[in-house]
Amino acid sequence: MSDTLRIVRPGLLTTVQDLGRWGHQAEAVSVSGPMDWFSHRLANELVGNPSTAATLEATLIGPELIVDADTIGAVAGADFEVTCDDATVASTKAFAIRRGARVRFGRRHAGSRAYLAIAGGITTPRVLGSRATDLVSGIGGVDGRALIAGDVLPLGMATLVSTPPRDVAGLALPITGQAQVRIMPGGQAEWFTAEAWTMLTTASFRVSSRSNRMGFRLEGPALTRLHSDELITEPLAEGAIQVPAAGEPILLMADRQTAGGYPKIANLIKADLPLAGQLAPGDTIRFQSCTHAEAVGALIARERQLLRYAGLRDAS
């Protein structure tokens, strides 16, 4: 009997995600992947999966599902009340699942996106090398869409029989509705007034309701340009903050387009993308300037957090 996971209630927006569809942006295929790569990888670590395994990304209202496998699961990221049959499941802690168990996401206390990893990973077919769901193009995951009730997802073979490990409280990200993130100047930073940069690095911006996995529109002071030159469409980086003529910045997230023609005032560093990925409409975000060396240092610190967990698991 093959192992599966069956969706009973899909939640608000639950998708299959892996680390993304890299290598196809020249064909205009977006990268996609988790909005919070750190929690996605942590959930995988907790069940002994490689970081490349696919998880479920739940958004604001989590799913209810039945796991048809004797296996191990873990939830990381947003803090939801989660149960497995009648037992409460702690966030960021692996739990045993017996065949037919019902995993239910309940109330959410902090953050927006939680990642459910199952040992062996979710093994929906790869499209162009990845299982990530790209909602804009409609590829990957299950028919390129959010999961619906009745979807049955195949599970892979667990590569490692992991004993449920020790508590790893303190290794998870600090998740709140007010993110403080670091930026570096973007490709067209000098196209903006000095006041625009001051505004960006001192004001608080609110995530607009017109936000999705492609990007967050940020409400706050308008960022004014020095001139109205047109930029010729060029490739875009993850975390780019582009500013259309009206001055309302857009932070580009997982399902971002591969190229665009709006000037970029700044770029969120990779280490802090997960903090932004945990925001919901109405939450606030503040930006702080940093150097390339600081960006790399911050990323090494995140990797160390994950390595520390891997060390704990192997020791247990």
Binding site: V136, I139, I232, T233, P235, A240, T258, N267, L268, I300
Partner: protein, 220 residues
């Protein structure tokens, strides 16, 4: 040519900033050769009109090696390896005007000519695929007859149907899927621009030649 350090995960190699066939060929060529280096930590090399984006994992990449590779490839002049006439030619049948091309009449009025003349000028040219971008299957084609070049809508439409053929500035292109969009829509095609069940999934590749062929409005 210079390197713009866009972020901790991407650099851009920028060429002279204009939409020009030679510059485009150079960007595509440099991207292809950089990919050939197989540099550690480089995840994606993406040519555009006059720039090449290099995406990397900051903890895997050797930025000095990347810089050397860029300098090396940038110093090699492009010998237009594929003569333009031998690039694949793709014909795209288009129903112009009416429901399929809601902006045709206004664009004609703006250009001071008849809708038929807009169609004639749009179909008369052979276009080059400068780059793919925006969403899968979206090819940026140039250059449009300046007489019928038109700015984007000030407020983009919430939904442009799949197959819509649009004009923006001196660019033209086909929306492969229904998306929001600000281009002036003059017609529509039934061709599938992107289909993952096909190899390659994209109907068009950078460097291809394209012609639009008017077909009667009778639906499907």
């Amino acid at each position: 040519m210079d390197i713009s350090r866009e972020s901790d995960t991407m650099w851009l190699v920028r060429f002279e900033q204009q939409i020009d066939q030679q510059i485009s060929e150079r960007a595509i060529d440099v991207a292809t050769r950089l990919r050939g280096h197989g540099l550690r930590g480089v995840r994606d090399v993406v040519p555009a009109y006059c720039a090449v984006g290099i995406h990397f994992d900051p903890l895997q990449v050797d930025l000095l090696a990347l810089e050397r590779a860029i300098a090396h490839e940038g110093a090699i002049a492009t010998d237009a390896s594929v003569p333009v006439e031998t690039a694949p030619l793709v014909e795209i049948p288009v129903r112009y005007g009416g429901e399929d091309g809601p902006d045709l009449d206004a664009l004609a009025a703006r250009a001071g000519c008849s809708p038929d003349e807009v169609i004639e000028r749009h179909r008369a040219r052979e276009y080059r695929v400068y780059m793919l971008g925006f969403v899968p299957g979206f090819a940026y084609l140039g250059r449009v007859d300046p007489r019928i070049a038109a700015p984007r809508h000030r407020t983009p439409r919430e939904r442009v149907p799949a197959g819509s053929v649009g004009i923006a500035g001196e660019q033209t292109g086909v929306y492969p899927i229904a998306t929001p969009g600000g281009w002036q829509i003059v017609g529509r095609t039934d061709l599938r621009m992107f289909d993952v069940s096909r190899t390659p999934a994209n109907l068009l590749s950078a460097g291809d030649r394209v012609r639009f062929v008017p077909v009667p409005e009778a639906r499907r």
